[in-house]
Amino acid sequence: MQAYLEISKVGIEFNTESGKFRALQDVNLKIEQGEFISLIGHSGCGKSTVLNILAGLYEATEGGIILDGKEVNAPSPDRAVVFQNHALLPWLSVYENVELAVKQVFKGHKTRAEMREWIDYNLALVHIAHAKDKRPHEISGGMKQRVGIARCLAMQPKVLLMDEPFGALDALTRAHLQNSLMEIHADLGTTVVMITHDVDEAVLLSDRIVMMSNGPAATVGEILPVTLPRPRDRLALAEDPDFVHTRQQVLQFLYDKHKFTGAVAA
């Protein structure tokens, strides 16, 4: 049976000055609708490349991706991307940043009033409605990332792609945003593929953790299902043996099976 999102035999080669560089080789992954998947691995292992291929921003050299029965070969609002550094347009207000996407995606489907309502709804969903007339430089990093998420959710994507969305935030802000993301995922049932460096984050949020081997020619090393019941409470989980065990397994993979080269944020 065909999965909702299926990555099959994807490989990619980049032309660099010192010849061809093979970044990914034979990446296979099947994702069900509503699943929350984390991609974890060492820096430079090609996690972002997988995400960019999923987004349609890069073209795979071989293999392909099928989403909901259709081949992925170009960027589309179906696969909205939350970028690490929020990528908001600094010259537009919070509201206008979301509006830019909504106007394009729902052109001809929603009336002006419906669009306004939809934008307000999405801003409220990420708890940012009070700052909707502010410019990005007037709000904190965490709030910017909330807007980035709102912009993506407002496109009603089939898959939400997140490229280290909380990597640049402090621990407290990150915890807040993780909670928001868990709520949203529970409410909307969005399919999410998230890149992260943070083992706790991966265990807390995911249904499955995809661990990537080191590059060059990186591929999927191991897939670890996280069976912790939802809703998950980070405080209660901290001493939960299942949580600790899962966390242990991820760390084991990152440290043992591959040459450990640098510090992994744990």
């Binding site: 987004a55 349609g56 921003l57 960027p75 589309s76 609002p77 696969r79 909205a80 991307v81 970028f83 550094n85 990528a87 347009l89 600094p90 010259w91 537009l92 830019l100 996407a101 394009q104 995606v105 430089h137 007037e138 904190s140 496109m155």
Partner: protein
Amino acid sequence: MSTLTLNPDLSDVGEEAMTDQIDSTQTKPADQEPTALAPWRYSAWSIPMAAQRSLRGASLSVVGIMLFMLLWQATANSIDTSLGKFPGPIQVFSQAQNMVEEYDREQQRRVDFFARQQVRNDELLRNDPSAEVRIRPYTGRPTFLNQIATSLMTVAFGFALAMLVAIPLGIVCGLSETIYNATNPLIQLFKPVSPLAWLPLVTMLVSALYVSDDPMFEKSFVTSAITVALCCLWPTVINTTVGVASVDKDLINVSRVICLPTHVHIRKIVLPSAIPLIFTGMRLSLATGWMVLIAAEMLAQNPGLGKFIWDEFQNGSSDSLSRIMVAVIVIGFIGLILDRLMLTLQRYLSWDKQTVLR
């Protein structure tokens, strides 16, 4: 030309200003405390820092100008030319007043001329209602102020013409590497060409192609304006190209994911990002255009400030040197004002009101 070296500076300033802004909002309460505890620090007997600094700056520029004037007066008196002593600031200043009066006199003469003509025509009509009345144009010689107006008109027209071509061309070159590669050699080839090299060609082309019984503009005006346009195209083309090509990669990816159509992409993402560099280019262009115009008017004897200077030089009266000096200073001032105008326009159009523009 420092077109390219200017770029990183400007964008850096923008980013710093943005992060500064965030920091300052976060640390505000801490900053305010000492003020609240120790108001005497900012009380009447000490002037606030910012005011102090700008006062210092202003007084330093006054001192600089005074020193320059003194030096000028001192050296000018010891230089003898075939047209008498080189004029010092005092002679130049009185000559400037004289030139304004000249303009007033000439205006009066013009008014008188039309009044006389009116009286004569009225009289003719009274004697013979069917008489054919002719209204002759006034043909007095243009004064210094008229020449300034002509030059300003010409540079404005030429600059506008150049921008109409340069900005779209720059955007296209910045967006498409193919078009950039195709046009770049041509841009690099024509960029260093002196205006005076273009002038004869432009003159001939204008006389051959701009033929009409009732021309909207004079040929000399069109020639000067096109020469200006040809020379001030390049800084804007190059800076716009660089500005458009260096739009943040993430923002371009956002646009691709949303699937923005090209015209929305340009309007909402490319133009706001590139506006600081477009304006850098436009300011360089306007300065180039103004310089080129004076030279072109001199060589082609087209009406304007350049012609004024050349005429005075050929005239060779004892006043000529101070009149030329007045023109030189006025040219400088106008250049300065044009640049300030562009800055004001940039401040008005730019989304980022925090950046310090210089």
